[in-house]
Symmetry: C2
Subunit: 232 residues, 2 copies
């Protein structure tokens, strides 16, 4: 009774395990990062189960896992929702991102090959093009690719998965306001500086560029969130 007629997207962390729990987890996660649910949207187990054509057990497990990760929040003993904008959490996650993504950057910078640099350059081209054509979803996707292409260099899997959890944490509640913050060609300069640092084999320069990128993004997101909150 569970034949996944709807499009199933397999994620990176979903390693062909075939577990319905993992399928449900990746599905919800995908929806969240696409901004499919507005903040405040309720996610009852049975609704999720029905939507994904699975039983209650995998749905429940997926939801609980996302709650643990902070991508969803419990606002009552029996109600989990997509989190509302929370500037305190945004600040906190930003601080953690600076520390952890800075670490990953610095540890991996010297391992960048020419292939990686080429990949980054082409990603950056795609990003600028997407921004020009106002395809913000694509721009955000490639922006994430750009960051993680650098973070993967250090080959520290625990670190990488922790960073991924941080992206998901703010992504869930802030995604629907990324477009209005992405318009300003955010990040282009910092990305180019990072690439330059990689070519120059200068880890602290790369780290500085990435930290700048994170801080710039934080400022824009915060501003957009404040305006959004004021308008309501």
């Amino acid at each position: 009774m569970n034949e996944n007629t709807t499009g199933e997207e397999s994620s990176v962390s979903d390693l062909q395990s075939g577990r319905l729990s993992d399928f449900a987890y990746s599905s919800i996660k995908e929806q969240l990062t696409r901004g499919a649910y507005k903040p405040g949207h309720k996610l009852p187990i049975r609704s999720v189960a029905e939507m994904l054509n699975v039983g209650a057990t995998p749905a429940r497990e997926a939801i609980n896992r996302l709650v643990f990760e902070g991508a969803l929040v419990m606002v009552g003993p029996k109600t989990v929702i997509v989190p509302h904008l929370d500037l305190a959490a945004l600040y906190e996650v930003t601080q953690m991102r600076l520390a952890l993504e800075g670490l990953a950057t610095e540890k991996g910078a010297l391992r960048a090959t020419n292939d990686v640099v080429d990949k980054l350059l082409s990603l950056q081209e795609k990003i600028t093009l997407s921004l020009d054509e106002k395809r913000y979803g694509d721009a955000l996707h490639d922006n994430k690719e750009f960051h993680f292409a650098i973070y993967r260099l250090c080959e520290m899997p625990h670190l990488l998965s922790t960073i991924e959890a941080l992206w998901l944490r703010v992504g869930a509640s802030f995604h629907d306001l990324y477009p209005e913050f992405a318009e300003a060609k955010y990040g282009v300069h910092n990305h180019l500086a990072a690439i330059e640092g990689l070519v120059d084999k200068d880890p602290s320069a790369v780290r500085a560029a990435m930290e700048n990128d994170i801080r710039d993004g934080y400022r824009r997101l915060k501003k957009a969130a404040q305006e959004r909150l004021k308008r309501q």
Copy 2:
């Protein structure tokens, strides 16, 4: 707590949530940090369920959560074990600890009240006493209390829970070798330096002290682990 005949009357260490899954989770976690299971020990769902007098569902959920957090590892599609010593993971977690616990320390240092300082001093006394009397379990417990008393100051809950996950991650596989590393009155000097920095309202001094503590611990743990591995 595990000998009730029929009644599932709650247990002592059950932390108020009432969920059997949480009870199972904290129970296993407690056992792990106490070093009750040797590395390589298998944790099948049904055995855990029977041991805790719960059904398969809560046991399964607790185990999967610990796997996800890295406190347990899957070595096959149907086998999760207590992880073996892994120096690469120890290094990785140490780097993350330096970044995150350094961050927490620096952000919270200026908020230390006299009460906190007194608490730290009394904890440090307890630690030295425990070490003198070779009660290493107690020493380790209070050592953790010492660290988190400082980390709590910054009031960043996401950061705190991430740090806790890191402690659990190495704790599970390294706990049974803490005694032989704790003998050397590890940390005393660094702890005192941290307290001094708090009193002086000097955040970077506190951070330096805590980072030193983490690095010292890393070196000792690594050495002990290497000797252990060589001996086998």
